[in-house]
Amino acid sequence: MSSARLEVIERNCKGCSICVEFCPKNVLEMDMFLVKVARPEDCIKCMQCELLCPDFAIKVHDA
């Protein structure tokens, strides 16, 4: 599977941590109330983070 590139738009992120909790592969982490992409190589592009982000702050791109 081709790898993914995750983009966090920090200006929009309010740090609710929904994406971190609902990521099935534990790709994301919280870092000082903002989301950090910790393990992008594990991403399976299920899009849960992008669909569940209420703040339009995370995007999953094809690498």
């Binding site: 929009n12 982000c53 339009f56």
Partner: protein, 271 residues
């Protein structure tokens, strides 16, 4: 791969005003996807809302939007649709706006079966005004005006809509994002009044008073207690205690109001 939401949002409007973790943002994304799926022309789509957190939604969308008086969204939307029946009309609002202050407008819009899609974001509370209990606050739940628990029985928005005569009624939750846009798409395509109830989370004024330690707890609660209507048919009343049914709950074909009214105009002019 990633979805281009920005093309449907007015420039410079993000970040939005909703609290961290508020489900209204998830519903807005679903609405944008549904509008794109239906290929709605944004210059011919009216998005109408009343007052409240959920009613802030049209302000962000790049379409013909109307932010009106508290609870009166359905009345204004009826006016828009009657003046220009070719226009697509979508109404957004919360549970308090739709069923308490605007309860009368809500049931009569349902009764008329006028062709519009009403997305009710039910977050169980009045969020913007400070967490007062709404008709949808669960019995026993705490709100700023019911610190010892809410004694009132709950309004079931979907049953109310079915009883009042809406011809498409569906329910989903903010924890089911794919289902949100699927149901709103079906609602937009349906000729007649479509009510889409989206159970939502309000971490700021509801969650923290009712033992939900975080936004994630509320989302997990929504996810765990949603039962598809098809599966619920095989379950006992005991198993369904505390659960809510999701999916399409009711659908029928009935004459649509603007078409009926056009007939009246024709008769009047012929006489």
């Amino acid at each position: 791969m990633s979805y281009d939401y920005e093309k449907s949002i007015r420039p410079g409007k993000l970040p939005h005003i909703w609290c961290p973790g508020c489900g209204h943002g998830i519903v807005m994304k679903g609405l944008i996807r549904a509008m794109d799926t239906c290929g709605l022309d944004r210059t011919n789509t009216a998005i109408v809302s009343g007052i409240g957190c959920a009613s802030r939604l049209p302000g962000y969308l790049d379409a013909c939007t109307l932010h009106t008086a508290h609870g009166r969204a359905a009345a204004f939307a009826t006016g828009v649709k009657m003046a220009k029946p070719s226009m697509n009309v979508i109404v957004c609002g919360g549970d308090g706006d739709g069923t308490a202050i605007g309860g009368n407008h809500f049931i009569h819009a349902c009764r008329r079966n006028i062709d519009m899609t009403y997305v009710v974001m039910n977050n169980f509370i009045y969020g913007m005004t400070g967490g007062q209990f709404s008709p949808c606050t669960p019995t026993g739940a705490k709100a700023s005006t019911t610190p010892y628990g809410n004694p009132d029985p709950v309004f079931d928005i979907s049953k109310l809509a079915i009883g009042a005569g809406a011809t498409f009624v569906a329910r989903t939750t903010a924890a089911h994002p794919r289902e949100i846009d699927k149901l709103i798409t079906m609602g937009i395509k349906h000729k007649g009044m479509a009510i889409i109830e989206v159970l939502d989370d309000c971490p700021t004024t509801y969650g923290r008073r009712n033992k939900f330690r975080s936004v994630v707890d509320m989302m997990k609660h929504l996810k765990a207690n949603a039962v598809p209507a098809v599966a619920a048919a095989k379950m006992t009343a005991e198993q369904l205690q505390g659960k809510f049914l999701t999916g399409v709950l009711f659908q029928e074909e009935r004459p649509e109001y603007t078409a009926q009214y056009a007939e009246v105009i024709k008769r009047a002019q012929g006489a």
